[in-house]
Subunit: 240 residues, 2 copies
């Protein structure tokens, strides 16, 4: 089976796609579901998120631009913040600079779309392996169209887990990610030393970076659930 | 000084840009100048190259699509082929799938644009260091919009040389490239094991891959020379 790593989203995916935005969207998505959220709605734009307010009960809006909360939203994009709340029965509408867009690219062609982070890496790799019949693509969201070290490192961790579960033929992206994983230090070093990790620290969000570096601390895998009742411009993810 | 590595071309460059398409455009460009070519004209499209034929004396057309020579062109994009010819007094018009486009992106914002490969890596790094006052960007051409291991590895070699010449602050791309260089084996292993290296071998072009892996075998650095007499849609590079 083929294992492909896109260091930036490209589209044209095989049956299973793992989307990574380790700092912080996919890490935060895992945290919301860990804290009881019944579903996540990832929107294509902030406007789609704002337009959903009031249309359904128990909706909360979460997101960021440039690392900071979006005006009019209830939450930022922070695993630390998520960890202090109870989201039981809530649907969290999420829009972020890079991660939610990458999920939309993945959903255009991928059949099974999963959100992955270091925090759920082992569970996400197991789920991907169980679902895949054609191949697995790991998609790094990056930051504003540029490759992010934190995502490539996380992709390498996922690739390492997958290689322990079976044979794969690798592409250049997978080779690069594995090399970055093996030569990039431990998760906390890799994430805190990345450009985006350094940026978040200057915003006082170093705790988020620390939480995002927690390796396989969760078994929740946000899983795309398609359906006619999903609002236009959104993707619904549930705990899998 | 800042050292930035773009794993794919992005634009908005500092004063010095090193463009890499190790398999094979920038390696071949070095070879043409090594073999006496007086200039290279890198065109934006194959059509621009074909339209130049007959407009000037001593023009030769070279290029590829999908690794194979372009119909109507005199040469492919092969350092092995270039090494058997004498290009004294000739201007070689080049168009390739990825490398010439990356040079055009670089030239839109970069002041000094140099072509780099493993074969001229040390000379290219020295030239870049001597020219730079703001910063240095290393730009990987990639393959059809996807990151290529051979270019990232070559970027890591250039970054290693540059770090030996002075202090730089690194971005994520530079960190990834250095890790790939240090963990990616020797140049021949890295290039022959890359997706594009494997593809070229299936086309019977393994000798090109082997030549491209020759580390700092040349001191020629193709250097962008701007001027009013440069044909529209082309960039002129001369030996520097």
């Amino acid at each position: 089976m083929k294992l492909r790593v896109d260091l930036l989203p490209h589209g044209n995916y095989p049956d299973v796609v793992l989307v990574i935005d380790a700092l912080r969207a996919t890490t935060t998505a895992v945290a919301y579901l860990e804290r009881g959220a019944q579903a996540l709605l990832l929107t294509s734009t902030p406007e789609v998120a704002l337009a959903l307010r009031g249309t359904r009960e128990n909706l909360l809006l979460a997101g960021e631009r440039g690392g900071l909360p979006i005006p009019g939203f209830d939450f930022g994009n922070s695993p630390a913040e998520a960890g202090t709340q109870n989201f039981a029965g809530k649907t969290v509408v999420m829009n972020t600079t890079n991660g939610t867009g990458a999920a939309h690219v993945a959903a255009q062609s991928g059949k099974h779309v999963l959100l992955a982070a270091l925090t759920n890496a082992h569970a996400a790799a197991r789920r991907a392996r169980a679902l895949a019949s054609e191949g697995i693509a790991i998609v790094c969201a990056g930051t504003d169209g540029r490759v992010g070290l934190e995502d490539v490192y996380t992709a390498g961790v996922l690739a390492e887990y997958l290689l322990a579960m079976g044979d794969f033929t690798l592409d250049d992206g997978a080779r690069i990610a594995l090399t970055v994983r093996r030569g990039g230090g431990d998760p906390a070093e890799a994430l805190s030393g990345s450009d985006h990790g350094l940026h978040l620290a200057t915003l006082g969000l170093a705790e988020d970076v620390q939480l995002a570096a927690g390796l396989s601390t969760s078994t929740v895998v946000p899983t795309l659930e398609r359906g006619e009742d999903v609002p236009e411009g959104t993707l619904r993810f549930v705990a899998g």
